[in-house]
């Protein structure tokens, strides 16, 4: 059976917004972009530099205490010291920080797999299928977008307690609210509706059903959008603090963001260089991942929502 295969993304008919080509952009625009970019980077640079400073250099407010402007040496042992201070997991004997990293990786993996799967399936239904009250259902899904997080946080947390689901301090509680995502459905649907209906008709002639068409045509075409969603889910889940903090109680169930806040929330004072060392370790995976996937991310954002 000859099956329809996905054409390159470039061949999918999209209309580019009219505008000047990049090489003719006013240098002033570049200058503004550079200034904004540098300004955005300063806090990150400060965090990284502080993470390898001696406490004395921190309290002396030295931005660059190393040669040629100073005589200090970088203190990479700040990372080990911070990990030591976070404590040890009694179950495994491993540093608690690594336990937090493993917990975060597990929660993130489950959330990404689930939310991408549910988003793709629901988006396909909304973009491709006809069924009663489709638009009403879609508006209902979008309406969940509009509910402030603060409003549903406590009721959801209460649901996890023993009087209801009894999931408190368990993995299901940590992932449950994020298994499906209205934003993800909207994002993927916007991509799917740009794909010409002709492709579906061709696939049907070749005998492909919905699942075959979805997996061999739609998903490959929507890869930038799906990767964008996966990346966003990674960032959101990796950084999630409030929910995990509410539904877990034991330290060995915590994630890195909760651990980081616990490390930062001291009474009376703090060793800033150690706090920044932990912060660097927490944000590093997100930065590295974004560095390698930013092309897809940009593609996914810029190619969704355009009418074909």
């Amino acid at each position: 059976m000859a099956t329809a295969t996905a054409p390159p993304l470039a061949q999918v008919e999209t209309r580019r917004a009219p505008g000047r080509s990049l090489d003719r952009v006013n240098p002033l625009v570049y200058l503004i972009l550079i200034v904004v970019g540098v300004a955005s980077l300063i806090p990150f640079v400060w965090m990284v530099l502080t993470s390898v400073k001696d406490y004395g250099d921190v309290v002396s407010l030295k931005f660059w205490p190393w040669p040629p402007f100073g005589n200090s040496t970088p203190r990479f042992d700040n990372f080990a010291e911070a990990i030591r201070l976070i404590g040890v997991d009694q179950d495994t004997g491993l540093p608690m920080f690594f336990r937090h990293v493993l917990n975060t990786a597990l929660v993130t993996a489950i959330v990404i797999a689930s939310s991408v799967t549910t988003s793709v399936l629901a988006a396909y239904a909304f973009a491709q299928l006809d069924f009663p009250a489709k638009n009403v259902l879609f508006i209902l899904v979008l309406a969940t977008f509009m509910i402030p997080e603060e409003l549903i946080l406590v009721p959801r947390a209460v649901m996890m307690n023993k009087n209801y689901l009894n999931w408190y301090n368990t993995l299901p509680a940590m992932v449950a609210p994020f298994l499906a995502n209205a934003f993800g459905i909207f994002l993927i649907r916007q991509f799917f509706i740009q794909i010409p209906r002709d492709l579906y008709d061709a696939a049907r002639i070749d005998g492909a059903g919905h699942m075959r068409y979805l997996t061999t045509v739609m998903i490959p075409l929507a890869r930038p959008a799906i990767l964008t969603l996966a990346l966003l889910e990674f960032i959101w889940t990796w950084n999630e603090f409030r929910w995990i903090q509410l539904v877990t109680s034991s330290s060995n169930m915590r994630t890195v963001s909760v651990g980081l806040v616990g490390f930062l929330q001291t009474d009376g004072g703090a060793q800033t260089q150690l706090a920044m060392a932990v912060a660097v370790m927490v944000v590093l995976p997100v930065v590295v991942l974004y560095f390698f996937t930013q092309r897809y991310f940009t593609e996914g954002i810029t190619t969704t929502g355009l009418k074909g």
Partner: protein, 497 residues
């Protein structure tokens, strides 16, 4: 098969989406606790809700049978498990963990305490407890500020400790009660709940003024300022904005503003807890002073994002004065010791409008006991009582940096600080800890009433707008804030109050 399967899966996915989180789980603020609208159910005296187990020993025929708290029996044969939520870190956390281990091994009542550290701020702990209460699973003991304990009390979720304190069998003798600093015990009472004790004091600190003594000497002054006028004059004399040096480092923590109101002879809340009063003459003077300090570039604001930035700036000799909690003492010592040019420093009572009638803002989270079974409530009390035994509380004060809450423990804590290597080069700082106990006699509590957290936010906004940004009129802004604060107070007052 797949044709039937995909619509089914799609519908399932949509249903999951409808139940799931709305898009990005962005970091959220602590949710506002629900406002109590009904009169709280009066808490029953512990031990009266259920029939007490029969005492293991026959009571002596000459004695009247035990009742209430005294009738509750705890035994090793039937261990009582209780859960304690805290947010301590560092040395304080270590001490609590060690103490619990020792208490579980040695207590004669078969009490087993489990501790859970809540990573986060007091606001996070407060949110978590409110969620747990609604879910029916609060801890047995938790750290709580007085206003938070009052909020829990509105619906009868925390218990009155008075019956335990006065229990002949399990309570404290008059001599023991007298050994606690009276002000600390009083601070856990709320006029809205007359006679009730809603928390047990374990941790207290004071709003103090950290001073760079060497810098002061350069300004031709030997002694830290005693009056607010001297303080303002010195702060402005020290300031050199061109070199980013200022007289005062101001964090917009409203306890600092409350300390100023007290120093001006005012109150945050009326004595009967029926109205907020920080718009009084003392409040106006406090806000005006701050406004002048910022207008004349004598003060610099430490943004909340620059956590403990006031310490690093103090150590870098960028600020002469810092208003902060006395618990910072060891951290300031470490910061100054590590700085390029260590200097002499100390902390003192915050300058007063009238030094003959000083008032000091003394604060600290207490430990509150949540409603459960009579046995668990008693076990919780016995744990609190054991923790505040003089020997333990002295060690706790050293480990945590808080004041010792018992008079007999204070000398041990003072001696431990004075002999600590950390203060070897800072004798004035070590002496400051000893003088801290002199301030207790002049202590004042901000507002031990439910709803004070949002009021603090109101006050913080006023200070930020009027004093720091120079917007609006001092009196009008305070009047409006008090009007809003009183509405919150009324909303959170116990029914019929």
């Amino acid at each position: 098969m797949t044709r039937k399967l995909i619509p089914l899966m799609a519908v399932m996915a949509m249903l999951m989406a409808a139940c799931a989180a709305p898009a990005a789980p962005a970091p959220t603020q602590a949710p506002a606790a629900p406002v109590a609208t009904e009169a709280p159910a009066p808490t029953q005296a512990p031990g009266t809700t259920e029939a007490a187990p029969a005492p293991t020993e026959a009571p002596a025929p000459t004695e009247a049978p035990a009742s209430g708290v005294d009738a509750i029996v705890l035994s090793k044969d039937n261990p009582t498990e209780i859960l304690f939520w805290h947010r301590y870190s560092g040395g304080a956390q270590q001490f609590v963990e060690q103490f619990v281990e020792k208490f579980n091994a040695e207590n004669e009542f078969g009490i087993k305490v489990t501790i859970e550290k809540i990573d986060g701020s007091y606001a996070d702990l407060y949110s978590k407890i409110n969620a747990a209460i609604q879910g029916g699973t609060p801890p047995n003991i938790a750290q709580a500020y007085q206003n938070q304990a009052s909020f829990y009390r509105l619906d009868g979720n925390v218990i009155d400790l008075a019956p335990f304190i006065t229990s002949k069998k399990y309570g404290l003798t008059q001599e023991e009660i007298d050994d606690y600093f009276a002000f600390f015990l009083e601070s856990d009472k709320n006029p809205q709940f007359p006679g009730e004790v809603l928390g047990w004091p374990t941790s207290r600190s004071a709003a103090v003024l950290y001073v760079n003594l060497d810098w002061l000497k350069e300004l031709g002054v030997e002694e830290p300022p005693k009056t607010l006028a001297e303080f303002e004059e010195l702060a402005c004399k020290a300031s050199d904005p061109a070199n980013e040096r200022y007289g005062l480092a101001w964090q917009n923590d409203i306890s600092n503003f409350a300390a100023l109101v007290f120093a001006n002879g005012g109150r945050v809340l009326s004595e009967d807890a029926k109205s907020y009063t920080f718009n009084s003459e003392a409040g106006v003077e406090s806000l005006s002073l701050l406004k002048r300090l910022f207008e004349n570039k004598c003060a610099v604001e430490i943004a909340s994002a620059e956590r403990f930035g006031e310490q690093t700036r103090f150590a870098a000799q960028k600020v002469l004065f810092v208003m902060a909690s006395s618990t910072g003492l060891p951290f300031y010592a470490d910061a100054v010791a590590k700085s390029e040019k260590p200097f002499r420093w100390t902390y003192v009572m915050f300058p007063q409008k009238d030094p003959a009638k000083p008032v000091v803002d003394i604060y600290g989270a207490s430990w509150s006991v949540f409603k459960s079974t009579p046995e668990k409530e008693l076990a919780s009390w016995l744990f609190l009582k054991a923790f505040t035994e003089p020997e333990n509380i002295a060690q706790w004060a050293v480990a945590s940096g808080y004041m010792a809450v018992r008079k007999s423990a204070a000398p041990k804590a003072i001696e431990a600080v004075k002999s600590n290597e950390r203060y070897k080069n800072f004798p004035e700082a070590a002496e400051a800890y000893a003088r801290l106990y002199d301030m207790v006699a002049f202590g004042a509590v901000e507002a031990p009433v439910a709803g004070y957290d949002p009021v603090r936010k109101l006050m913080s906004d006023v200070v930020s707008a009027v004093a720091i940004k120079g917007e609006g009129d001092v009196k009008a802004a305070l009047d409006k804030a008090v009007e809003d604060a009183n509405a919150i107070l009324k909303e959170n007052a116990p029914g019929g109050y």
